[in-house]
Symmetry: C2
Subunit: 326 residues, 2 copies
DNA sequence: TTGTATGCGTTATCAT
DNA sequence: ATGATAACGCATACAA
């Protein structure tokens, strides 16, 4: 391994000169050229660890994601990646695999790595999260969930649920089947559902059956196969696009035609909803945009610029062919 | 920030004792308990950089992926992640965004980070790659493409293409439309196509029209809209599942019924092919398994155990409802 | 502009 | 079992 000392020796200068050459750059043209040459020849690159040991700035942002094979996560991530690149930040991406202990461990690891800020795609913020974050005194941004007294960016899921309900009511639907997920996930499990339920309150004669299923298509498919035959619903609300796609498959399997027999809608705005038959009406979320804005916000925090604790991103109803008038 | 010195001072011992306590652990019970307490109270964790500055082992594996929003990439990645976790390796995941300069930069970064080995999900290995790898003298594993004199793992894409062709011929098809991608991608663009073409050679009276499209569904969809009306093919071979899904959508749009009007098959074995109508016949690739084996192989290399330069993974034809006899 | 000396937090060597 | 000290590679305050 070639070090700054090697370069200095070969060039016949002090290593501080080399260091200066590498950083602020107050060196004479002659030595600069000499060093240019030697660095190139040797392929020398500064040792990150030695550098970071001294430095206060590492130019790195840490990201913690809940899992690797999620379409929405990866969209957010690619937004983060794009903006981080533009802002000349390096990214450290870690995966918690939906494991809380691992998530906390990842935060600690990132702090040790002296990242300048952490972006956490989270489901729930516990006291231990708070303690860790406070002790480290590091800019921290939670994505996808709101969190008291912590900077966060989230979608207005309650409103999204409400809008879906409103839309369905306007179409004349009164009997609903709702496929949700665990309330542990505040945004997806709780708020979407509550917003939806709230939207029905102004209308009489509505019925709702709620089924808790999973993010997994396979599980959701099976749950739909079980539930659809016993349902009188004319509109099936699915808490995610994946669930909607699975329910659609179950419907096809059971020979219920969609949307004639019942309408289906999802949440997420995944590209995949465009490539099934019928295409699925969905609440679209600006995932990539969230990633971009997350880095922007974090950059502000890093630079001591104040931002509101909570940033809400809009969502938009995309009507496609899976929903019709009753 | 609390350091090993703080701990030592508080415990009234030398920092070397604390270091020993942290590592091999040859300390008396009394001091151990004292240190346990203090470490817990202060929330002390060793500084990664200082550690890595001395240490020869970092316990980190570097991974370079071409993009963040690809289903296959993420499957591989989740296999890598799982096995790395089991093997107590930390992962550094970097994204090249399909940019060669960035890819080379990432390799350099990872080398600087003193990772113990690098896994590269690659399209092409250039001389500059080789130089970098050789100079660093670090275990290196290329995934998805073969590479001369570099350890690699790949699917037998040629064989996969051949098997698809064979299957279609057996079904009685003679007229083909092939949606491929750029030959720059050796595995997907070249080998699948060549294997397929080779399989037709034993049969007379076959016709093939080849169209080069893109990995993007949107582009593939548009290309299919343009190409399908002018095609007399009874079987459409798509070089990826995404392309197959896009072609299917185009077919529906154009009111061609699949598989009656023509059969469609893909490559990849994506879950998504199970959730469209009809479900799509595909060559399934063990993506996650590749990730797992990649870490196993890299671990061997790190430990100086020799493995063959080339590891080929099998693939399997999954027949579904998009292909029928002619 | 350049060189000298010091310190960053840790591990390793060698005494004790 | 424990402590003192050197070393890792680099940045920087200060002196020249």
């Amino acid at each position: 391994m070639v070090t700054i000392n090697d370069i200095a020796r070969q060039a016949g200068v002090a290593k501080s000169t080399v260091s200066r050459y590498l950083n602020n750059g107050s060196v004479s043209l002659a030595t600069r050229e000499k060093l240019d040459k030697i660095v190139k020849e040797t392929g020398y690159t500064p040792n990150t660890f030695a550098r970071s040991l001294k430095a206060t700035k590492t130019n790195m942002i840490g990201v913690i994601i809940p899992r690797l094979n999620s379409a929405s996560t990866n969209e957010v991530l690619s937004g983060i990646d794009q903006k981080a690149r533009e802002s000349e930040y390096d990214l450290i991406i870690t995966n918690s695999n939906q494991d809380r202990e691992r998530e906390l461990g990842n935060i600690q690891t990132l702090i040790n790595q002296k990242v300048e800020g952490i972006i956490l795609l989270a489901r729930e913020i516990t006291e231990r999260h708070r303690k860790l974050i406070n002790d480290a005194n590091i800019p921290f941004l939670v994505l996808g969930q709101k969190a008291e007294a912590i900077h966060s960016m989230a979608y207005s899921d309650y409103e999204a649920g409400y809008k879906i309900g409103q839309y369905a009511i306007e179409l004349g639907h009164r009997d609903f089947l709702f496929f949700g997920v665990s309330e542990q996930d505040k945004a997806v499990g709780l708020e979407r559902k509550n917003g939806f339920l709230e939207s029905l309150k102004d209308t009489t004669d509505t019925t709702v059956k709620i089924i808790e299923t999973s993010f997994s298509k396979k599980v959701a498919y099976q749950d739909a196969i079980d539930a659809l035959p016993n349902s009188k619903a004319s509109y099936v609300v699915c808490a995610t696009d994946n669930i909607a796609i699975a329910v659609l498959k179950a419907a096809v399997e059971l020979k219920y035609s969609v949307p004639e027999k019942f309408s289906i809608s999802g949440f997420g705005g995944y590209e995949e909803t465009d490539y099934v038959q019928p295409t699925i009406t969905t609440m679209s979320y600006p995932y990539k945009e969230m990633g971009i804005q997350a880095v922007e916000n974090l950059t502000k925090l890093v630079n001591g610029i104040d931002i509101p604790y909570e940033t809400l991103l809009p969502n938009e109803l995309i009507v496609k062919n899976s929903t019709i008038k009753r």
